[in-house]
Amino acid sequence: MSNLLYSNPLIQFKMKIIPAQFPAKKSTMKPASISSRLQNSQTPSNQQLNLSVLRFTLGIPGLDESYLPRWIGYGFASLLILNHFLGSDSATPTPAQLRTEAIGLSLAAFSVIIPYLGKFLKGASAADQATIPEGTEQIFVMSQNILDTKKEDLAWATYILLRNTNTIAVLISVQGALCARGYWNIPEEASRKNLLEWFEKQIERIGLKNLKDTLYFPQNSDSVLWELLPKGTRSLLVQPVLQVPKPGANQMEGIEGEGFVLLASSRGYAYSDRDKAWIGALANKFGEN
């Protein structure tokens, strides 16, 4: 079998039919290697061949086999406990049985956390698609008193972020210009006209304007930052837009923050390192102007 790159069984991956020999599979990682890219194929329009991963599956569509250890762990742990209380021949269980049950329960606990650990391995990518949370509406607002080229840049940037990453809502604020796009929870008191002012007020309250570090919250957390976001948000990435230092500028002054790019997703751990790198590159575009 030729050496193919594998991924989660529910994700199809692309392979080019190349009539050549693959190099031998090396079992040791080279120090200068680049880890490969196992991503969900979202562009079926090119001519590469789609092959399902050759891996053991139950064949049931929609069932995520990587969570099977967790269910087995829960099921067997409950059976063990049932056996302990209901199935003993004598009144008290023997020490041997207690030892076995201890081993069994710790194994079950380990099985339960296996899918969680598997999420962080190289090449793992979650199969669940981003869902649009309830109660949100799709909006696209932009500051009006800016140059046309700036408007085009903002429109294109929000479009590319919504399309290429697992984002449901994006908010860009740079040099006084604001653009919000995607699915947001808008309170009733903010009408279409003062939507921008509502966003401005929220940003002032959280103090995002002077941000200098990237913030990435891969899981839901209760904090003031999250009141701004749509209800079903599970991960959040805020990328500051830093001013590109002009050549010859005084290095001691420090880099001023010029704005930020805020991305909200309805999936946990939605932004991989590659995604974050691209988002950083996009933020640099605004920093140069």
Partner: protein, 298 residues
């Protein structure tokens, strides 16, 4: 005041979620209170929200990828042995029936151990194959068409910086309207003897079949392993050991040629980003440059 002096201690510590620092989990809240209490004295309000916790589980697993992959096998195998030893040491007859509760508990534990071993085997089998970087042979160059407006040239340079930072791209060539408007990164060394980077013959390129196919289909072409493609001869300006090439059409008048240093080095996410960046670049160039040959004559 005490709070004020504490603020000055907090201020220079940059907090980044990716930093691997051994700080206590209570520290972010400490910083938070620091900043919030004295931010009113600043004219520009500092960020008052929470700082993200460092996700040590994720870091631990990603750094010890191989060890974590084989961990379930060891755990399952050790538990299997423990159950069997327990059964023999306790003097129970080695009969695999479910009549006594001891046997049932043993069977359940064995089932769990086998699940763990299988999961470990699956994880080992799906380990991605590491691919090595091949450094391009050639000389660095940066040639940009001199009669471009500033907006276009800054956009081109931004595209180059993004691609070289994020992807495995080492060469970028943009050909538009029969002219090569950008050649940046590594280029093949000219064999004439002066060691200059090979220039892009845009006319010859636009007449070649590779270019024609890309423009006709209007879709991105990804040559994941360039050494296997006979069309490689149409790209003599790329370093000879370029591993992967993406040809992105810019509308109907141009193409961007992106050379990478790893076989199959561009992910599908990269391809999607490059497609959309190509559209933006085409819009920018088309809007700002009416006719390249005319502008050259001015």
């Amino acid at each position: 005041m005490e709070v004020g002096s504490l603020y000055f201690h907090c201020r220079p510590i940059p907090w980044s979620p990716e930093l691997r620092r051994l700080t206590k989990p209570t520290l972010p809240r400490f910083l938070f209170f620091c900043r919030a209490s004295s931010s009113s004295s600043n004219s520009r309000a500092d960020y008052k929200g929470p700082k993200p916790r460092r996700d040590w589980v994720a870091d631990l697993v990603s750094n010890n990828d191989d060890a974590v992959r084989s961990l379930p096998i060891y755990v399952g195998g050790a538990s299997l042995l423990a159950v069997l030893i327990n059964r023999t040491v306790s003097g129970i007859a080695p009969v695999a029936d479910a009549s006594s509760s001891q046997s049932r508990a043993d069977l359940l534990a064995l089932g769990l151990a086998v699940t763990n071993i299988l999961t470990g085997l699956v994880w080992l089998s799906i380990r991605p194959k590491p691919i090595s970087v091949v450094n391009p042979e050639g000389v660095e160059c940066q040639r940009i068409y001199s009669h471009l407006p500033d907006s276009v040239s800054s956009e081109l340079l931004w595209v180059w910086e993004s691609l070289s930072d994020v992807t495995c791209c080492r060469t970028l060539i943009v050909v538009y309207d029969g002219h090569c408007i950008l050649q940046i990164g590594f280029a093949a060394k000219s064999s004439i003897g002066d060691g200059e980077p090979v220039a892009v013959d845009a006319i010859k390129l636009t007449q070649g079949s590779l270019y024609q196919n890309v423009i006709k289909s209007g879709a991105q072409t990804y040559l994941a392993n360039l050494s296997l493609y006979p069309g490689k001869s149409e790209l003599p300006f790329l370093p000879s050991n370029t591993q992967a090439v993406i040809l992105q059409p810019l509308g109907e008048k141009g193409v961007a040629i992106i050379g990478g240093d790893t076989i199959r080095g561009f992910t599908t996410s990269d391809q999607a980003w490059i497609t959309l960046i190509g559209e933006k670049l085409d819009a920018t160039i088309a809007k700002n440059v009416k006719n390249l040959t005319l502008s050259a004559q001015e």
